[in-house]
């Protein structure tokens, strides 16, 4: 389990793993936290709607919408015809007319039919109308690999969205963040692409969801959109990561500690807006950095992070900023995916290559 405390240096939040368990003994999975965030948002605001494919009676193929139709009725959580552009386009119209739709795209690669609606309208409508039409909608996308999925079920599609001005792009990595970030996304006046790492759906943390609800609704949850967090403090090098790659980065940092290296892990949480301040403060302290992400590295979010860090932290760097990413290939079949995914060993190799002096 993790807890967030204020970091003395740089003002960034730091999660520490040695804090007392905040859950009072109760635990929640990532999936259950998302489900609770949806339910709590719908209970708090009658304009919040949830729709997509199989999200009604079935409760979603990952059960993220489980029980919502039963609790809120078929007008608030419902199945649509199987057409992603239709789902997205209808969500735009509903958002234009006073609703706060949350749509599920079922799988990352099944969101592509909606791409025109996302890029041409979701992202551009507020700008086109000089802010007179805001689109408070959330596009939930079960995302990325590591679950042995067949083709079209494991894409890391964040770069497409991050490259499109007007979209907020979030990728939580912890159960606590999953809850708070989804609530924040639904409350946001801007459209949010909410990337849910599939392989983390079953991860657990000791926490009390009712307590998280009270914290959020009392306005006491720190803002997470645009705010990265130090997932593990360290002094020798920084691993910069987000979403599904954060646990891998944390595992690599733990392994490095056994070899005597103190590695800091930054969990971006928010890809757009990007938190230059937290990332650069860390890299300036450590002088070395590796970016870890599952997506193919070419023209990726990881590329952007490297560029930003080198532009801003050049004089603090002892070594080039490296990347550990997926290869520039289509996502592999289940029996081959472990060759592709960033691993602890591959991250440690990159850390070893950061031009250490001894």
């Amino acid at each position: 389990m993790t807890q967030t405390t204020e970091a003395p240096a740089g003002g960034a939040d730091v999660r520490t793993d040695d804090a007392p368990a905040p859950g009072g003994g109760s635990t929640s999975t990532f999936a259950k936290a998302l489900n609770a965030a949806l339910a709590d948002s719908m209970a708090a605001d009658a304009s919040v709607l949830m729709f997509g494919e199989d999200v009604g009676t079935l409760g979603g193929v990952f059960r993220i919408t489980d029980g919502l139709t039963a609790r809120f009725g078929e007008q608030r959580c419902f199945d649509t015809p199987l057409a992603e552009a239709g789902i997205m386009g209808m969500a735009i119209g509903m958002a234009m007319n006073g609703m706060k739709p949350v749509v599920e795209m079922q799988f990352d690669a099944f969101a592509y039919p909606a791409f025109e609606q996302v890029v041409s309208h979701v992202a551009k409508m507020p700008n086109r109308t000089r802010g007179t039409v805001r689109l408070p909608l959330v596009i939930r996308i079960p995302y990325a690999g590591g679950i042995g999925g067949v083709e079209h079920h494991c894409d890391s599609s964040e770069a497409y969205y991050a490259h499109t001005p007007g979209l907020t792009v979030l990728a939580p990595a912890t159960v606590r963040d999953a809850y708070f970030m989804l609530r924040e996304a639904i409350a946001s006046p801007d459209p949010v692409v909410f990337l849910e790492p599939k392989k983390l759906y079953w991860s657990k943390e000791e926490l009390d969801l009712a307590e998280l609800r009270r914290t959020f609704e009392a306005g006491q949850a720190p803002r997470r959109i645009g705010k990265a967090v130090v997932g593990r403090p360290g002094t020798d090098a920084t691993l910069i990561s987000y979403g599904p790659s954060v646990p891998t980065a944390l595992a690599a940092a733990a392994a490095a500690a056994e070899e005597g290296r103190s590695i800091e892990v930054i969990d971006l949480r928010s890809i757009v807006p990007f938190d230059d301040e937290t990332v650069c403060a860390s890299v300036r302290r450590t002088g070395r950095a590796v970016v870890v992400a599952e997506a193919p590295g070419f023209a990726s979010v990881a590329s952007e992070i490297v560029a930003r860090v080198q532009e801003r932290c050049f004089h603090s760097l002892a070594a080039p900023v490296l990347r550990v990413t997926g290869f520039d290939i289509p996502y592999p079949s289940p029996k081959l995916e472990h060759f592709y995914l960033p691993s602890v060993d591959r991250i440690l190799d990159a850390v070893d290559a950061l031009q250490w002096e001894d």
Binding site: A83, G86, G89, G93, P113, E116, R130, P273
Partner: protein, 398 residues
């Protein structure tokens, strides 16, 4: 302008009897099919042609709509002239389609929504939006110039058919809140080939929402003729595949358009669900001023449509009834001239663009990066204004 009040005799779109899947009643398939020929109430010679299902709108309604028709033609002519004079980047004209434009706006009430395309400038103006705000897009100082909520007119859609789904969403939200709102969504014949057209009709039918899909079939998608878009018996026939009624109407007959669209709007308002109306019209001019229509159609093709002009036929009809007097005609012409003069004056006035606005609306709150970029542009402009070369201000920095 006020809504056409024609009470049809309950044609295919004339009532709620046809219903939809959600009404639980068995719907005879035939009731969803359009008529064999487009509905026509005033023929090209200006004579009333009777139709068994649709009543001719009242003379006063037609007279008022005719005034809008005259203004619409004048707006098209004026906008074309302003493009030639370099005051606008481009203008997709609805010359010849003005009856569709006027009727689309006229059949809606204040609480309804209109979803127009880039060619529907006249419809948007007829709905009440300030012409200069409407022409902002084409003048080139912003992507849209009006607040969609003010007159309940969505931005003019440039991508094809995408706006039809937004229309479904607006209608769906209104239905969930129990509001009396009908949405009329416009597109052209080419757009019926897009996937979003199919998805919008299907979603509208499945959710049984109050949307009227209005296809202006002007026979061309830029250069591609209708026969290359679809081999369906008519575009209105597509409706049956989604379980909604389709209707065909003479797109140059203002009276028939008011009757058919009015009937479709009433049906939607009364809970009858969505429907599809195809208007048969013709794009008398090139796609835009940037297009050369002689490469794909002959002058004779176009000439064949001249006698079917929507204005001449309505003028003949209204004059034959003595409804359109010389005085009235003069007053319509004066109104049209006044609108054109306003457009001319507005577009001949240099508009001041504000580069700081570029960063203003991307997000509700500017991101750190956008604040930095806005500041960068502001500094560049300040430097330019001061006449200081960039190199000097940078020297000694960093």
């Amino acid at each position: 302008m006020s809504t056409a009040t024609n009470e049809g005799r309950g044609g295919l779109l004339g009532g709620t009897a046809a219903g939809g899947a959600h009404d639980g009643g068995a719907t005879p398939e035939g009731a969803l099919l359009p008529s064999a020929e487009p509905v026509q109430l005033v023929d090209p010679d200006g004579r009333h042609s009777t139709d068994e299902r649709y009543l001719l709108p009242d003379g006063e309604v037609l007279l008022e709509a005719y005034g809008r028709l005259v203004a619409g033609r004048r707006i098209n002519d004026q906008a074309n002239a302003l493009v030639r004079q370099g005051r606008m980047a481009v203008y997709p004209s609805s010359h010849g389609q003005e009856a569709c434009q006027v009727a689309a706006a006229a059949v809606l009430d204040a609480q309804d929504w209109l979803f127009p395309t880039y060619r529907d400038t006249v419809a948007v103006i007829t709905r009440g939006v300030d012409p200069l705000q409407v022409l902002t897009l084409l003048r080139g100082d912003w992507h849209s110039g009006y607040d969609p909520h003010e007159h309940r007119v969505a931005t003019q859609a440039t991508p094809l058919a995408t706006q039809l789904l937004h229309a479904v969403g607006v209608a769906h939200a209104a239905k969930l809140r129990g509001e009396d709102t009908v949405v009329l969504a416009m597109c052209g014949d080419g757009a019926t080939s897009e996937g979003d057209f199919h998805e919008a009709l299907n979603f509208a039918a499945v959710f049984h929402v109050p949307v009227v899909f209005f296809v202006q079939n002007n026979e061309f998608a830029i250069s591609v003729p209708l026969r290359n878009q679809s081999v369906a018996p008519s575009l209105a026939h597509k409706a049956i595949g989604y379980g909604m009624p389709g209707e065909r109407v003479d797109g140059n007959d203002l009276a028939a358009l008011l009757a058919v669209l009015g009937s479709a709007v009433r049906r939607a308002r009364d809970g009858g669900g969505p429907s599809l109306v195809e208007a048969h019209t013709y794009r008398m001019q090139a796609h835009t001023n940037a297009d050369d229509a002689t490469r794909y159609r002959s002058a004779d093709d176009v000439r064949r449509w001249v006698p079917k002009d929507p204005i001449t036929r309505m003028r003949t009809y209204l004059r034959s009834l003595d409804l359109l007097t010389d005085e009235k005609e003069q007053s319509f012409a004066d109104e049209a001239d006044a609108i054109a003069a306003d457009i001319r004056k507005g577009l001949n006035t240099e508009v001041t663009v504000n580069p700081a606005e570029l960063f203003e609306y991307v997000y509700t709150e500017k991101t750190t990066q956008l604040r930095e970029q806005a500041e960068q542009l502001r500094e560049e402009l300040a430097r330019d204004a001061a006449g200081t070369p960039a190199a000097e201000t940078k020297a000694g920095g960093r």
